[in-house]
Structure formats: C-alpha cells, structure tokens
Amino acid sequence: MTQWCPGCGNFAILKVMQEVLAELQAEGTLLENIVLVSGIGQHAKIVDYLKVNSFYSLHGRAVAAAEGIKLANPKLKVIVFVGDGDSYGEGLEHLIFAAKRNIDLTVVVHDNRVYALTTGQYTPTSPLGYKGRSTPTGTHEHPLNPLELLLAAGATYLARGYNARTEQLKGLIKEAILHPGFALIDLLQVCVTFYNQYDHYNQRVYELTGHNPADYNEALSKIKEWDYNSDAKIALGKFYQVERSTFDSFFSGGDTVDRGQLIKTLLERMV
C-alpha cells in the first residue's frame, strides 16, 4: 500500500523507477546487484514500494551510507533517493564530498522545495519569502541553486527532471545510472498539499536542445538561467556530463592475504 497524497509527484517517480529497473534487467543488469538507498522524508518511502535491495537510511545521511555500500562492493549499482531538505540541508556535506570524490552513485533528489513529512516548512530551495509554518512572514534567505553548487563540487553528471515529464525523466535516470561517476538529478517533484507548483512549472519548463553537456561553462550558464527564485524559464534535461576517474575504482580489492603471518612479521619489526 503506497502512502502518498493523491496527486503526489512521487507516484510518477515510482512508476518511472519500476520501468527503469525493468529495462535495466532486460538489458542484462542483475537485479540483485542494484541497491536503493533513501533518506528520511516522503520520498524515502519509494524503497518500501520496490522489491529490490534497499537501505532505508537517516535524514541527510543517505549519500554517506550509499558511499559505504559502493566502496564495500564496487560491482553494485547504487541509486540514492533523497529529498531537498534532506540532502541540500541536513546532508549537504555528504553530497558535496560525494561529488568531489566522483564516487559512482546516482542521486535522485525529489525536490519539492518544501518539507512535506513535517508539514510544510521551507527548504534550501524554497524561494525568498516562502511562507511556511516556521516562517509565517516569509523566508528572509535566498534559495540555493543546487546544480550550480554540485557543478562546482565536482559532479560529473548533472540534470534536471520533472515528475510531469516522465518519458524524459526515465531517460535521465537511466543515463545517470549508466554514467560511471557521481550523477545527480534535481527532480522537480510537486507536493500538491504544501507547495503545488504544477501551473508554475508547466508554463515555464522547456527541454534543453542544442546544448553541449561536455562544456563546463556552457553547463554553468544554462544552470544559472533559473536560480530557483526568479521568474525565468526552467530548463529540463542534461546540463553536464564528463568522465573522470572514480573514487570507488581505487578500492576494488586485492588478493587475499595470510593476515596471521603478516601480523607476526609486522610485530617482529616492532622490537
């Protein structure tokens, strides 16, 4: 039984993930080698609704746990679902460092720009002046542009999706999973109860075309077009993709050793 409000953007994301997993499986990926990791928030319930290995983590800490899983067993494909409050707020340090390391993870941020599980407070991507239960007269701080931040941090795949554009979203998530390195999709996921942005988004979103995702400056310029605050056009699609050595590839493990003998030798040298 799924427990989201009627009309929640998470339903579409769940359906997209079911399709992505089925496609990956059909193309030869073994389902047992996939691990889903989530934070805490409405987004996180997605791992309960998919019959795949999962690690239902803590608020803000999903990315760090996912890094551990990947480093322990680099052959696993690790897909992380997090919220905007969760990963851009409480867990921001982990996100930035995972990007800096270019560890091979896929991070899907359910960015509804509101705390939904805790009933409507502002988040790091809420616009200036957002009125929530903790900011009844409106926020006095500007939102973060998470893609700009993650680009600077060293992410090697960055895209924006929208839960009302499921075909495109499916392509982006799959591409991010297949990308060897740190991939993040900022996913505009609408919270119908606390911050219904469907009309706003539908009037402004457009698909990125003729864009060169290998060019850092071009990616930066497109990423800055909408700063999550101004009334600008909102690009959907892949902003940036390059290949760089991944952190996990340094930890693929060597041959087993006779620890007992090695410890004896080490101790002999300590006289």
């Binding site: 047992e32 239902y56 983590s57 803590l58 800490r61 746990a65 551990g68 067993n73 930890f251 620890r259």
Partner: protein, 550 residues
C-alpha cells in the same frame, strides 16, 4: 617492583616522542619489559612535552613517583619534574639552554658545530644517556641505526659526541629473556581487529584514536584492507553502516566529540541490526576538554548513547595485549549478534607503549555468523528464537535485502503495526540474552592481586596496571571487568566473593563504574577518583587506597 625509570623532556618539536621510543627499544633489546607514558600539550611546536620510559623484569603499565634519570632538553623539563628526583637520580641536561646540576652536556653547541639540524639534540642526549647507563657504544649504535632511518649519519655522529662527553653512573645488566615487540595500545588494537578479519577501517582524525587510522592506512595494501578518511564522523558511521550492509567487517575510531556525532548512526545500527565496531578513545571533557590527555569519562555515554533501547557490546581493555584480544572479540561478537560494539580505550592505553607478547593472547571466538541457506523467501529480520536473523548481502541471487531505520516487518518493510513493533523490539533485545550467555564463557572479569583479600579494588581500562602495582604492596584483591555491557554480573559476583570492602579506582569525577555496579546491586564502599588528565603514580594510589581501607 624493581625497575628503571627514565624521563626525557623538551619542547614539542624536540623529538621527545621518537627519543623515548628509542630509549625503550634500547632497553628492550636488553630483555627488559617496557612501558612508555607520553605527556604532550595540544600544540605542534613549543610548550613542554615529556615521556617516561620504564623498564622492569616483569610487564608493567604505570609509572612511579621518582625516576632514575632525567634527560632535560629544556628548562621546564627540570623545573617541572623536580618532585621526581630521588637521592640517586642522574640529571642529564643541555647545558647550553638549561641551568642545572648533574651531567652537563653542551648539546646545542655540539649540534651547531657539526652543522646538524637542531632536532638532532635528542640523539646527542641519547648518546649521553647510553654512556650514563653503562652501555657499550656498539650496543647503542646498533639500535640507533636500525631505528633512525632519516639522516642516520649525522644522528650517529652526534650521539657519539654525546656519548664521549658523558660519564657512567650505572651498570645495566642484560636480562636473559626473549625480546618482545613494543606496541602502543592503538597499534595492538588495529592488529587485533585485522587478525579477527576486519575488511575496512573508517575514521575522521581525532586524538587519541588517530594513530589507528595512520597505522592501518600505511599498511592498507599489505593487509588488503580499505582504509578511508571521510569528511566527518557523521559520514564515518554512515559509511560503516553501508559497508556492514554490503557484508564487510568494519570498524571506526574516534573520541568523545566524534562519538557525539556518531550517536544517530549508532542508534540506526541498533534498529537495522548492522554490525560494527566503534573505538572510543576517551580523553577529558566536556567538549574539547584536554585533547591530548586521558580520562575514563565516556562509560555512561557509551552505555546510553543513541535514542531508543537496543543491545550493544562494550568492552574496555587495560593494556596493549588486552586491546588486541578484546578488539578481535568485539568484531567477532558484533557480527555474530549483528549489533554495534564499542571498545572503550583512553589516551593512556591508546598512545602508551607496552611490551607485547602474541603468545599470551587467547584465540578469538570462532567466526559464527548465521547465513541464509538460500531456501524460501529471504527475510532480513526473521524473528528467530535467539533473535539472530540469517544474513545475506546484496549481490546474492534470490534474496531481497532490505534494512530500515524505521520499525519494520521481518522483510524489512516499514510498519507501524503495534503487534509487529512489540515483536521486533523483543527480537532485538533477545540477542542481548544470548550475547550475555556467550560472554559468560569468556574471561570477562579478571581477578589479580591477593585472591583471599577482604578488600577489593575494582578498576577498568588503563588504571589496571596502576592498581596491580599498588595491590602488590597493600595485598588487596583487584577485580577488573573487561566487558561492561552486557554486564557479566555472575562473574563479577564470583570475583568479589568474600570481599568486605570494595574500592573503585577511576579516572573520572563521578565514579561511573561504581554507578554501573550500584545499578547492578553491587555496592561500592569508597571511590578513588582522578580527573586532571594525568595518570597517578603508583605511590599516590597506594597511599589513597591505604587511607580508604578499613
């Protein structure tokens, strides 16, 4: 206990640490058992830092009121340690910078004349010490060459000058005993964990646990171990949980401040039943406290850290050999029972150097994790009679492995159902009952000193050797629990049989072990507490115990 004590001190940056280890190694080569205490302020250059090297026929791990030699590289060393001088103490000092009486060695001008870097003063001092101890030059040169791998020639040249400038005060006798490795508590702990099958060590630097990270990082390739230093302790514990989920045996290391940050992950380990080992190196607090000094103030914190109620294993070794053994036991039992294990150490154990004998160490409990047999639907939290659920790891065909920070059903899916909540909470706590049974088969409480004595000193961790040495003269019993959670009460009561008076000796201000014992129905009659960051001397403790004895 008959022993020889040498204090060497100078400013931070004078190479005191290295020099004291070299003294230890020199005496070690003569067949003595060694203990080195290190005392240094939290700064990189300047201040006053010193070490006391103690050598004896039998193993030890404490120091006494007086020393036989003082090697002073700065004035503070002499001024601060005048109370450690007895009638025959020999004072060696750099007469270019220190005003004193004793054996004057113009080390600064010697080093300057030879064109050596200032730090070589320490080796020149050691040359002088070797002569004062009555050691032949060749003996010293051999050990120095083996240990001074950088700028060896200038070091040897100046040590020789120091040697020639000194006189002999002592005739040290070689012991007819095998030479043992000299190992710090942290090194021993790292080796014990490695020996028990550790796959990964993850840590954010924090005194006094950082040297485990350094030691293992340097040997990661040889040991085929993953050693990682992430962005924070929050990341450390979450990464470790990820490693455990993926089937790799993982330990993390920190001190109280880092452990504060780890408590949310610790609680998660309790709920998700993910095994891990946390090394908690205690130092004085609250907050940053005294970062480079020692205390035993985190017992209550370790016992109760994290929200909710869950079983944890807490062990507290008292020296390097115990750190090796109990490190291995903690890892094995954490995996068998799928729970977090905390190893409480302190700065004195972590950074103290001990003679270490692998032959003294018992075998760890066998690896006995319960694995899924591949039949039927896999349930990560199958509620068994022992509470232990069969393990499977991602990558295993036919198993869907779900772990969850929320309350969950047997298959790992979130639930808020009352009946299941009760059932899973009981399952998790059942593991503690089984764990205690297994601990009762280990030597979880040690008894030393005079077994028939009516007075018992109870202690834990690094105060072990201090109490043992004090107990020799006072003829009291010493009872030392090595496991603090779950508390081995049956063994404790047996160890305390016939005792009329219990005195707790602890490095804290609130008698945390005494509180724990009181909660378990064992009344402690008197407490001897130290909370200035420094270990007591044997004589100080002897006096305090004697005063407290009925």
């Amino acid at each position: 206990m008959e022993s020889l004590s040498i204090l060497i001190g100078g400013r931070a940056g004078d190479g005191i640490d290295q020099a004291s280890l070299l003294i230890g190694k020199l005496l070690n080569q003569l067949g003595f058992r060694i203990y080195i205490y290190r005392d240094y302020p939290s700064l990189i250059r300047g201040g006053h830092t010193f070490s006391i090297v103690r050598a004896a026929r039998e193993k030890l791990g404490a120091h006494r009121q007086t020393v036989d030699f003082i090697c002073a590289l700065n004035q503070d060393c002499l001024d601060n340690h005048r109370d450690k001088i007895h009638g025959r103490t020999v004072v060696l000092y750099d007469s270019d910078v220190v005003k004193g009486t004793g054996l004057a060695l113009p080390l600064t001008s010697m080093v300057k004349a030879a064109g050596g870097p200032e730090i070589v003063r320490n080796t020149a001092m050691l040359g002088g010490l070797a002569k004062a101890l009555g050691l032949p030059w060749e003996k010293f040169e051999k050990v120095a060459r083996e240990n001074l791998k950088k700028e060896t020639e200038i070091n040897i040249q100046l040590a020789r000058k120091g040697y020639n400038a000194a006189e002999t005060f002592y005739k040290i006798e070689e012991q007819k005993k095998p030479v043992l490795p000299l190992v710090t508590g942290n090194e021993a702990l790292a080796l014990g964990l490695a020996s028990a099958g550790l796959d990964a060590y993850i840590s954010y630097p924090m005194t006094p646990s950082s040297t485990i990270l350094h030691f293992l990082a340097q040997r990661a390739e040889a040991l085929n171990m993953k050693v990682i230093h992430p962005e924070s302790e929050l990341a450390v514990i979450m990464m470790a949980l990820g490693f455990a989920y993926a089937g790799q045996k993982t330990a993390v290391g920190t001190s109280g401040g880092g452990f504060c940050l780890m408590t949310e992950g610790l609680s998660f380990a309790g709920m998700a039943e993910l095994p891990m080992v946390i090394v908690l190196g205690q130092r004085p607090g609250p907050s940053t406290g005294l970062p480079t000094y020692s205390s035993q103030t985190e017992l209550m914190f370790a016992l109760w850290a994290g929200q909710g109620e869950f079983t944890r294993l807490i062990v507290a070794p008292g020296d390097a050999e115990e750190a090796y053994y109990w490190g291995g036991v903690a890892l094995r039992l954490a995996w068998k029972y799928q729970l977090p294990a905390i190893i409480l150490t302190d700065k004195n154990i972590a950074e103290g150097t001990y003679s270490f004998d692998l032959k003294n160490i018992k075998r760890f409990p066998e690896e006995q994790s319960l694995f899924w047999d591949g039949s039927g639907e896999y349930k990560r939290y199958l509620a068994t009679a022992s509470g232990i659920s069969p393990l499977a790891f991602p990558g295993e065909a036919g198993a869907t492995i779900k772990v969850n920070s929320y309350e969950h059903e047997e298959d790992g899916v979130t639930t808020e159902d009352q009946r299941i909540t009760r059932k899973m909470q009981e399952k998790r706590l059942r593991k503690g009952v089984a764990l205690l049974k297994e601990i009762d088969e280990l030597e979880a409480v040690k008894v030393y000193g005079k077994q028939a004595a009516r007075t018992a000193v109870v202690c834990w961790g690094s105060t072990k050797h201090l109490c043992l040495e004090a107990a020799e003269k006072l003829e009291v019993r010493v009872v030392m629990p090595l496991v603090l959670s779950p508390l081995p009460l049956t063994q404790l009561k047996k160890a305390l049989q016939g005792v009329a008076q219990i005195i707790a000796v602890e490095d804290n201000a609130t008698a945390q072990l005494a509180q724990l014992l009181k909660g378990a129905g064992i009344k402690v009659d008197a407490v001897i507490l130290t909370y200035d960051g420094r270990p007591e001397t044997v004589e100080q403790l002897e006096e305090r115990i004697a005063r407290g004895m009925k």
